[in-house]
């Protein structure tokens, strides 16, 4: 039931992005009232936490960068119809590999930093590749292998910081000793934000944009994501593309992990990623799996999440509120995003990340039916 857009309807469409945002704000306000907290004050605290001063803004930027890197990678895997839940573990492996270089190699910054970047990307790519091989060779759905590998990566981090990489002064379970200065990335104005990391993230976004727009590989990934069977008939090797897509995403996520240890922190910490991979999954879903919307939505997420940390410091309210706000928004868009089904919309592409007409938002559902083990 595709209808031609009438004037009224297309004007209404422009307001669509406000609907999920308001829905999420109403929901979180209700929660705040339940706890006898004033929503106005809470949102003010969150706003101050993100924009109240130079250091706050730089912190938003610093948190934004790994989100961008992981999201850019996820656009590739989603395009190929893969649910790369393992992105969180790929970030952690990147962080671990970058930390290994920072702890074990003595060299000037000019050598050390490129080495860290390569190590992080290799680490993330291998962790992603493992998930992919388990899928193609072992018929283990990537959602489950990803979750297991996420948890194994967290356990590995805890082992490293309480065992071999333990600070010499002994048993703190929180992190390694700060790395040598040469290993850390140059940061702006004493903040956690490194311009180099933003440069890398922008490069990643541009790369993903061009891969999907103008390369044969991008076309193969789209074919695989939209219809694995016809892709197979056309000679696209699903095993090869699956492994490549997961390794590509893993490499970018791993780079995000390096940013966490070498710019956000200065050491390997217990919760080094702390859910950045899951946030990136939500960002890409909200973006309707399109790279162009990723920067803006990732920035919004960074603002909300940074703000909610300040909220917890100021008002003692749990910082999970930020996650609830973004989660409700994504759920709302997922449920009502393609308002076509409700008979509201036209064919015009909607602005707020609502899945359009030709997007792979149906492929993950296909993927799970075709990939659950033992489908014979």
């Amino acid at each position: 039931m595709i209808q031609a857009p009438t004037g009224d309807r297309s004007r209404l469409w422009k307001l669509w992005p406000l609907v999920p945002i308001s829905a999420a704000l109403i929901f979180t306000s209700a929660l705040l009232l339940l706890f006898d907290a004033s929503p106005a004050e809470a949102y003010r605290a969150m706003w101050d936490g993100s924009f109240g001063g130079q250091d706050k803004i730089l912190s938003v930027l610093a948190f934004w960068v790994p989100l961008l890197l992981a999201s850019a990678g996820l656009v590739i895997t989603f395009t190929a119809g893969l649910w790369n839940i393992g992105v969180e573990g790929q970030i952690i492996l990147g962080a671990i590999c970058a930390s290994w270089v920072a702890l074990n190699v003595n060299a000037p910054s000019g050598v050390l930093i490129p080495l860290e970047i390569v190590a992080a990307m290799v680490g993330g790519a291998l962790w992603g590749g493992l998930s992919a091989v388990l899928k193609t060779r072992g018929k283990v759905n990537e959602i489950f292998s990803g979750l297991a590998l996420n948890n194994l990566a967290i356990i590995l981090t805890n082992y490293l910081i309480s065992g071999p990489w333990q600070p010499p002064e002994g048993g703190s379970f929180r992190g390694t000793t700060p790395f040598q200065d040469a290993a850390l990335w140059p940061r702006l104005l004493d903040s956690r934000f490194s311009p180099l990391s933003l440069l890398l993230a922008v490069a990643a976004l541009v790369a993903v944009y061009f891969v999907l727009r103008g390369t044969t590989w991008g076309l193969k990934l789209k074919a695989l994501g939209k219809n694995p069977y016809s892709a197979y008939l056309l000679g696209v090797s699903s095993e090869r593309e699956t492994i490549l897509a997961m390794m590509f995403c893993g490499a970018l996520a791993g780079l995000g992990g390096a940013v966490r240890v070498l710019s956000w922190f200065d050491s390997l910490r217990q919760s080094i990623s702390g859910g950045i991979g899951f946030l990136a999954l939500l960002i890409v879903m909200l973006a309707g799996y399109r790279i162009l919307w990723v920067p803006l939505i990732a920035f919004f997420f960074s603002v909300v999440l940074n703000g909610s940390i300040t909220l917890q410091l100021k008002t003692q309210l749990h910082s999970a509120l930020g996650g609830i706000l973004t989660g409700v928004m994504v759920l709302f868009v997922l449920l009502f995003g393609s308002a076509r089904q409700l008979g509201l919309g036209g064919t015009q592409a909607s602005a707020g990340g609502a899945p359009g007409t030709d997007l792979p938002d149906v492929t993950p559902a296909d993927a799970i039916t075709t990939d659950i083990p033992g489908g014979d």
């Binding site: 018929k139 590998l149 194994l152 879903m285 749990h318 997922l334 449920l335 083990p373």
Partner: protein, 324 residues
């Protein structure tokens, strides 16, 4: 003495596995009707938190269980609504709900962490519990355990021996054929998704009110995903699923025993066991190498081996059904 210890360990495995068994049976009902409810992890966290708080405030565990069932039903209803009415991806909606439930439980339960609450009463079944060996292992437990045992049998019987169960399997295997036979496929899917969700909610409550009493941030995080993996490993059968849950419980108990025996081995090794096991069991039932292994065996062994080692999902699992 040795025997008494062994009996205690076996009894604790059964207790530990019971909430998992309840969740697995619930999800099996949902998936056999053709819907994947991926929100289990968030649902169980929310249900565990709700059950604990309601139990604490009302001093009545049954109200806690009821509230948890309602929470589970609501989460499942959102998945059903999203996939059946609105035609959205079940995986996406379920996954977002899994994350959202985690955050919601952390926020709503923030004032109730690490408190003493109410817990499920212990009830040894008269006569049966006095049978040597078997009695203390199976019949001297909390009611949650008996509920889980009964649920395995009832779910199996419902699926395989009743008319409604046949319709349920029909909508998960061949919805078009079932529809042609007069089955309202989408109504059944709503029904079993919500019913399965309620059971998953009860499973969450079984944790916070019995097996892992209390509430803390991320109390049983990860358990929902393990339950989902067990559904696959269990080949969508309640009996095999229960066996899978017991296997997980047994591995955990074994890890605890080993850890006490070899304290020098890092706790890390033991924490990673459930996740490594998750990958291994899924590999075992899915991989092509298993098929090759079966084919290399003597002919007479192949059929029974295939029955044990291979599983196949409901054919229409995760796909929407449009009438006409």
């Amino acid at each position: 003495m040795e025997n008494a210890q062994l009996i205690a360990v076996l009894a604790s495995i059964i207790l530990q596995a019971s909430p998992l068994i309840i969740a697995v049976c619930g999800e099996i009902l949902t998936e056999r009707s053709g819907v994947v409810n991926l929100s289990l992890d968030g649902t169980m966290l929310m249900a565990a938190m709700t059950a604990f708080v309601v139990g604490l405030k009302t001093d009545n565990i049954w109200l806690g269980f009821a509230a948890a069932a309602v929470i589970g039903a609501i989460f499942a209803a959102i998945v059903a609504l999203g996939s059946i009415r609105l035609g959205q991806s079940q995986v996406a909606v379920g996954f977002v709900l899994a994350l959202l439930g985690d955050d919601l439980s952390a926020f709503l339960g923030q004032n109730y962490t690490r408190m003493r609450g109410v817990s499920v009463p212990h009830y040894g079944i008269p006569v049966l519990k006095d049978i040597p060996v078997v009695g203390p292992i199976l019949f001297d437990h909390d009611v949650v355990v008996y509920f889980a045992m009964a649920l395995i049998v009832v779910t199996w019987w419902w699926l395989n021996r009743t008319q409604p169960g046949l319709k349920l399997r029909g909508s998960g295997e061949r919805p078009t054929a079932a529809f042609a036979r007069g089955v309202d496929v989408n109504r059944l899917r709503y029904l079993y998704t919500i019913l399965g969700g309620a059971l998953v909610g009860i499973a969450g409550a079984a944790f916070s009110l019995d097996v892992k009493i209390g509430w803390s941030d991320g109390h049983i995080r990860g358990t929902g995903w393990i339950a989902l993996a067990i559904v696959i490993f269990g080949g969508w059968s309640p009996i095999r699923g229960a066996f899978g849950a017991l296997l997980f419980g047994a591995t955990k108990a074994l890890a605890t025993v080993l850890q006490r025996a070899f304290p020098e081995v890092s706790v890390v090794a033991f924490n990673s066991i459930p996740w490594i096991l998750m990958i291994l069991v899924l590999l075992a039932v899915g991989s092509d190498y298993t098929e090759r292994f079966i084919n290399a065996m003597p002919r007479g062994w192949q059929r029974p081996l295939r029955r044990v080692l291979r599983v196949s999902p409901p054919m229409a699992l995760g796909t929407p059904f449009h009438e006409g």
